[in-house]
Amino acid sequence: MKRVMLLKQHVGAPCVPIVHEGDAVKRGQCIAEPSGLGAKLHTSVTGKVAKITETEIIIDADAVQSEEYVKIKECESIVDSVFEAGVVGAGGAGFPTHIKLKTELVDGYIIANCVECEPVLSHNIKLLEENPLIVINGIKYAMEATKAKSACIAIKVKNKKAIESIKKALDGIDNIEVKELRDMYPMGEERAIIHEIFGDWLTPNQLPLEANCVVLNTETLANITRAVEDRKPVIDKDITIGGKVKNGTGSNIFFQMPIGTPISELIEKCGGIDGEYGEIVMGGPYTGKAGDINISTVTKISGGAIVTIPLPEYDGPLGLLVCACGADEERLRDIAAKMKSKVVGVTACKNVEVIRGANKCETPGDCPGQAQGILQLKKDGAKRILISNCSDCSNTVMCCAPNLGIPVYHHTDHVFRTVDHELTRRLPM
């Protein structure tokens, strides 16, 4: 049984292997270290190093595996424990957590990002419902490390059960408060949360520090607790498998699956793919990308995998409206090709700013107006458009495109149609 440990599961440079081909390794053992910005990498399985490439360490795992692991060394500080455990932002970006925790936040805040913004993905909320303490303790450790005087748990108001469960666990703690947010995409985006809580927009290249806070995701906080209390490195990941699987289109949640587990195995655990499918979306409906069922594995930053129905065919000229909050141009072109449409024009939302090679939105969830872009696409010959906007911007698009006689697809449609989720279009008045 081969298991692939990717050398880059975080922001920064790839890790440098510290084991050699043929070495015996035990689950939890560190096998690669960061060079520069990065985080330590540990093997999630016991076995022998079969091969090392530039991008991955392949381990020939023993047939029998246990949940036991090699503990990280005892550390004096929380930051060191977090570094040793290789904790990175588990919500998708993979920013090394120990760096965030080195920040001094005098009079500042720790913000627990429990928004779990992507529909379908639900393992974070489930964790909060079942074990809120592991997250709350993580907040406490983060506060201790950064000297933040208080913290705030940002969660969507719709997650009533989780809120109730958190509030119960917070009984007697007065420096952590729960902040209930509206159910909008992309409420979970770091700067959107900060805006929602503090009312000010950070520019796309400002870090949360400038708002005197550090934002940490639910599972990242749990991983801090695991590192500090159990001396457990990040070798397992919570993940949601959803969509067109035989167990039903509901979300199948897997807690603590060893990193490197092929996604196909998890899909099989859900009964396998139910009939014909369109894509395996790795991640959430908005920001996920099409994965390859034969290659994709669980990583430190995997949110989920969603098996979708085939994309609707539209054999005509299509215009793409790119937004920073959803799919990028490459992803939209991928979807357009799967729809068998011909892309005749591409335009970006006015709010898109390219920061270090990635699209960032100036004001996520706050629309700058879309009519100009739509008119441009129409001029380019688009008979229909495919958009990747957030809730608010999609609403704006819906206020103009249909009036121009242009039908609108959203890049999340096929995912939402698979799982019977409401489509992203006009917002309720």
């Binding site: 085939p310 609707p312 819906m398 149609r417 006009r426």
Partner: protein, 694 residues
């Protein structure tokens, strides 16, 4: 013949049998399997018997054969190793939100059968409509309507499903139509289910006679009567309107004698002794003619083939189709004849023989028992019996005699009227508007009809259907009942409509009387000889019916075989315009349909014969009142959006009886079933050809 893998995949739920001898150890693939479409024929002909535990194609492909078997052996679990467990089909009948519109969730190909999982969740309809990706018009079917239906063309995801995309989906009748319809019970019939050939633009029509189709009549469920009351309140304001009236004055004749002049004297009709001279002289092709008065005592005598049965009637006031018509009760004119060589005037099917063994008494187109026949026996020039002028001459020569009787009837004293009958042509605005299309013979020879003579059932002033190009001609129901058709069709005598048939046309009477229906008119359309012409006339028919803006149509035909090509095309032309359509024809065993199309889902079989055949007994398999009732109720069912059950593969006379039961139970109306040839002594032909006793 073996199947392709694609074909096998489509038919994965059909039973599996090998096409050829297959050796032990063979891994079964599509190439080893016979196309299951032919199994019913093979079963019918005794070539194979499919056991109940026969496996499905989807189960056997990839399985290993454990012993060598011969061709057409059905595959069962004891013959195979490694049978594939087929995934349980999604419960396609169980569907949530059945009344919501059907929008495809998946990209489907032509031929795909729509299942529940192929349909989009209605929760997002509003957003999809708002995004202009779908448009939910009235034409879009509901989820429950499309489940199990087969797509006729490729349709991408997010297509709305409409009737024309689906196979066999007739004109979609919106649900609300049911409210207006006021049937207490509905029934449906379907006949001759094997629809193998599609008519394509009048080209390349092969007539393939499939084995073992037949007719069947399948009842559908009753409708709540409470709906009826609501409907009637709604249309209260629209008033019925009498368009025209036809009065028939009946003169009773008890004796027919030859005399010095033609006259009506009390209840005796005298016919001028030398009348035949004029009759023979009137037609060049008529070489000789006999006139016989057949009274009931002479019913056991031999007669040449019966070419026609005609009422004797004349106009007293008004034109044909309105005003007053005088008619003689108790006497009919019967045309019979041969050519000089004694060959029957008839193509394939003639009713010569002992009269009372070859006549189905009391049928609309036949004599009633007890009536006196004024029977001509016309001898036409040798060889003209099979050409158009011969039979026409026989009819016209006979009409010389009838015309003289008409004149005498016109002059008869009004005090001799024993009965009057009044027919009203009523339009009922607000009710379901329907039209009756009667396909009539127009192929020439003895396949012609004279249309709209001056005198009822006469020949003078009428134009032959063939000369008119067989194009659709619209008349009023009262013109039909006043004898606007003089029929020259009586070959295949069991299924051809005589002149008297139109005079007593049961479907016209039934529809005209039905207060739930608004009968727009009757269209006669000829059945030409050449296929190209058949489609020419059916296209015109389609436009004519379209212009009438009707809700439903009943298409009848006479005979069987060749005429079924236009019959099918007429139904298609009407059906494709979104109009509910019911077909009426003789079918059963011998008259099974050789062509078909997706609109031929609702058919009534005129067969009465015990064997389901044309047994050359006059009028035996013609449209009778019992058939008219079934046709009208079936049309109501169609217009009410009811589905018609599929026909059984083989003709099963019980299906019709079941339907009669459904109507009788639903309406409380007693439907008289006609007697058939079994009530008669066997004719020579029946004894020697059709019902030979061992």
């Amino acid at each position: 013949m073996s199947m392709s893998a694609e074909h096998a995949a489509e038919l994965k739920n059909e039973v599996a049998a090998v096409c050829c001898r297959t050796e032990e150890g063979t891994i079964i693939s599509a190439a080893n399997l016979e196309d299951p479409n032919i199994f019913p024929d093979l079963e019918a002909s005794g070539l194979m018997k499919i056991p109940e535990n026969c496996l499905k194609i989807g189960q056997v492909i990839g399985a290993k054969l454990m012993k060598t078997i011969d061709s057409l052996t059905p595959l069962t679990s004891d013959l195979l190793e490694g049978i594939v467990e087929m995934k349980e089909e999604h419960a396609s009948k169980e569907i949530s939100q059945p009344e919501q519109k059907a929008v495809l969730k998946n990209n489907l190909k032509a031929g795909a059968v729509i299942e529940a999982i192929d349909l989009e969740n209605p929760m997002n309809f509003e957003k999809l409509e708002d995004s202009l990706l779908i448009k939910l018009t009235d034409a879009v079917l509901t989820r429950k309507q499309v489940i199990g239906a087969k797509l006729l063309k490729d349709a991408p995801a997010l297509s709305v499903v409409t009737g024309e995309m689906l196979e066999g989906f007739d004109a979609f009748v919106p649900e609300k139509a049911v409210e207006v319809q006021a049937a207490q019970a509905v029934q449906s019939t379907i006949v001759g289910g094997l629809l193998k050939i599609k008519i394509a633009e009048g080209k390349g029509i092969d007539i393939e006679v499939p084995i073992g189709t037949g007719s069947s009549v399948v009842p559908v469920k009753e409708q709540a009567s409470s709906v009826v009351e609501v409907a009637e309140n709604k249309v209260e304001k629209l008033e019925e309107k009498v368009i025209r009236t036809l009065t028939r004055k009946h003169f009773k004749i008890e004796k027919v004698e030859m005399g010095s002049e033609t006259k009506v004297d009390g209840t005796t009709l005298y016919i001028r002794e030398d009348i035949l001279k004029n009759a023979i002289a009137s037609e060049e092709l008529v070489v000789d003619m006999k006139l016989e008065i057949i009274t009931p005592e002479r019913y056991n005598e031999y007669s040449e083939t019966i070419m026609d049965v005609q009422p004797i009637a004349t106009k007293e006031e008004g034109e044909l189709g309105e005003g007053i018509t005088r008619v003689i009760d108790g006497v009919i004119v019967m045309v019979t004849g041969t050519d000089e060589n004694g060959v029957q005037i008839g193509e394939f099917g003639s009713s010569e023989g002992i009269l009372d063994r070859n006549i189905m008494w009391g049928r609309p187109g036949a004599p009633d028992k007890g009536e006196i026949f004024i029977k001509t026996e016309v001898k036409v020039k040798a060889g003209t019996n099979m050409e158009r002028p011969g039979p026409m001459a026989a009819h016209e020569a006979t009409d010389v005699i009838t015309q003289e009787i008409r004149e005498a009837l016109k002059a008869a004293d009004d005090s001799l009227v024993v009965d009057t009958e009044e027919f009203k042509q009523v339009r009922r605005p607000g009710k379901k508007k329907v039209v009756i299309v009667k396909e009539i013979m127009g192929q020439g020879a003895m396949h012609d009809n004279f249309i709209l003579p001056v005198e009822p059932a006469g020949t003078l002033g009428a134009k032959p259907n063939v000369d008119l190009g067989n194009v659709p001609i619209t008349v009023s129901p009262l013109q039909v009942l006043d004898g606007c058709i003089h029929a020259i069709t009586c070959i295949g005598p069991a299924s051809k409509e005589t002149t008297r048939h139109y005079w007593r046309e049961p479907l016209v009477i039934e529809t005209m009387k039905d207060e739930e229906l608004d009968l727009a008119g009757i269209i006669f359309v000829g059945s030409p000889q050449v296929n190209a012409e058949k489609f020419y006339v059916s296209k015109i028919l389609g436009m004519t019916v379209e212009a009438m803006d009707v809700d439903g149509a009943i298409v009848t035909t006479e005979g069987f075989g060749n005429n079924h090509i236009d019959f099918a095309s007429h139904i298609e032309q009407i059906g494709m315009r979104g109009i509910s359509v019911v077909g009426v024809t003789f079918s059963a065993v011998q008259g099974q349909l050789v062509v078909g199309n997706p609109y031929m889902t609702s058919l009534v079989d005129n067969n009465k014969s015990a064997q389901g055949i044309e047994n050359e007994v006059l009028e035996n398999n013609c449209l009778a009142p019992e058939d008219a009732v079934r046709a009208v109720y079936m049309l109501k069912a169609r217009m009410g959006g009811e589905d018609i059950k599929e026909a059984e593969r083989k003709w099963n006379p019980n299906v019709k009886l079941n339907n009669i039961d459904v109507i009788e139970n639903g309406t409380g109306r007693k439907i008289e079933l006609e007697a058939n040839e079994q009530s008669l002594e066997k004719s020579k032909k029946r004894r020697e050809i059709y019902e030979v006793e061992e």
